[in-house]
């Protein structure tokens, strides 16, 4: 017994490392139990509070730059508003004529980005809005520039958002001009759109928006523009590189669309796929 204890003490560093690895692997295998959700909630609240207190620091650094950008954007938006007013009136008339169902207006929750994940490629952000503000799991996150991501965890006053630049992020997207649908994802280096048949006419500069196939993201949200598109010899699909319209390096304020998936539609689609 004493010999065994001596051996344990002799190799304690290795044994502790093995124990840490085993616990980590177990955690990786059982990722989303209620207990882990509760612990995660406590961690998010604790760190979120400190991040909130420290939130002024990046503001100070980027205030001047942001001011210039906002002035420029203001001018552009003023032009766009007048154009949109015209378009809205025209759209209203046309919708009435065609008796189309009026598209539901979404409500938004404004949130500040108070933290970013420090690990490479684990593209998540911490928002200072949570369940008390109406933010729920899987709600889309946007800015005026376009789609940012979706909510993947919430606590009472904070939420974690998964960005478009995350390896697990997928969104059903559409090439606006060609009406070609595909799946947009991050390949570790850039955004790509896959499953767009070669027969579709897609060109550099075409806008990419969310399609109507998604139960999470409303249709028509800007995602990006096509940076390059080509067909590999013998391939059936286009290889499309997409440049996101959102500048993720300067992300400070976002909006959470308080839309939850239509449960009737989800249930029906699940029944059909069984």
């Amino acid at each position: 017994m004493r010999q065994l204890l001596d051996i344990v003490l002799l190799f304690k560093e290795y044994l502790v490392l093995i124990a840490c690895i085993l616990i980590s692997v177990a955690l990786l295998a059982t990722n989303d139990t209620p207990q882990i959700r509760a612990i995660r909630s406590v961690a998010v609240v604790s760190v979120g509070f400190v991040q909130d207190v420290l939130g002024f620091i990046p503001d100070y650094f980027s205030l001047k730059k942001e001011n210039t950008i906002l002035r420029e954007r203001n001018v552009t938006l003023a032009d766009e508003v007048s154009l949109l007013r015209e378009s809205k009136l025209e759209n209203f008339r046309l919708r009435q004529m065609l008796a189309l169902k009026q598209r539901a207006a979404f409500t938004y929750v404004a949130a500040n980005v108070i933290g970013k994940n420090v690990q490479p490629m684990r593209a998540t952000i911490t928002l200072d809005a949570g369940e008390t503000d109406g933010v729920k799991y899987n709600m889309p996150i946007v800015t005026d520039a376009g789609l940012v991501g979706r909510v993947i965890a919430t606590s009472k006053h904070y939420a974690i958002g998964q960005l478009l630049l995350h390896k697990d992020f997928r969104v059903s997207a559409r090439v606006q001009r060609a009406r070609a649908d595909g799946i947009l994802y991050w390949n570790g280096e850039r955004c790509e759109m896959k499953n767009v048949p070669r027969t579709h006419d897609v060109k550099q500069g075409d806008a990419i928006i969310t399609s109507s196939y998604s139960t999470i993201y409303p249709e028509g949200i800007k995602i990006g523009v096509i940076a390059s598109a080509h067909v590999e010899p013998g391939a059936l699909f286009h290889t499309i590189a997409v440049e996101p319209t959102v500048d993720f390096s300067t992300l400070e304020e976002v909006f959470v669309i308080t839309q939850v998936p239509d449960s009737a539609r989800v249930a029906l689609e699940q029944t059909r796929t069984k």
Partner: protein, 162 residues
Amino acid sequence: MRRIVSYTLLTVLLVALHSTLVNVISIGTAIPDVLLIWIVYISITSTQLNGTLAGFAIGLLVDLISGNDGMLGLSALTKAVAGFLAGYFYNENMTEQTLAGWKFVFAVGVVSLLHNAVYFLIFLQGTEISWWRIVALHGIPSALYTTTLATVPMFVFRRKYS
């Protein structure tokens, strides 16, 4: 006990500060890992065993605040390994010399590079993303940046102990 409490508070502050300032201090794909420097410091000043445990705890905190991205345990694992590796630079009689010398920067460099290599090896499982490409694109620049950043505490310690 007092040391554990102060280290815990400092860790929470570092995690929050780092995640708040990450935009300001990142250069392209290079994201410095301040927490890794902290783990190396703990390993060098208080044994390999403590470094491993501290790495595990810090990594777990990072995992917990990352939301439900299916990777809970990844940082805990990689940072525990980092703490363990940094423990090889521990020498009870040479702590001050190690911290105030290039050995500390070298330790951060080696640990950071291996940490990133292991991190992406697990992180990219089940994807078509090339490990080599991501290590070249993110892992090496981030490790170099972290190593460069480690010269700051090294010079602080040099001034303190000289």
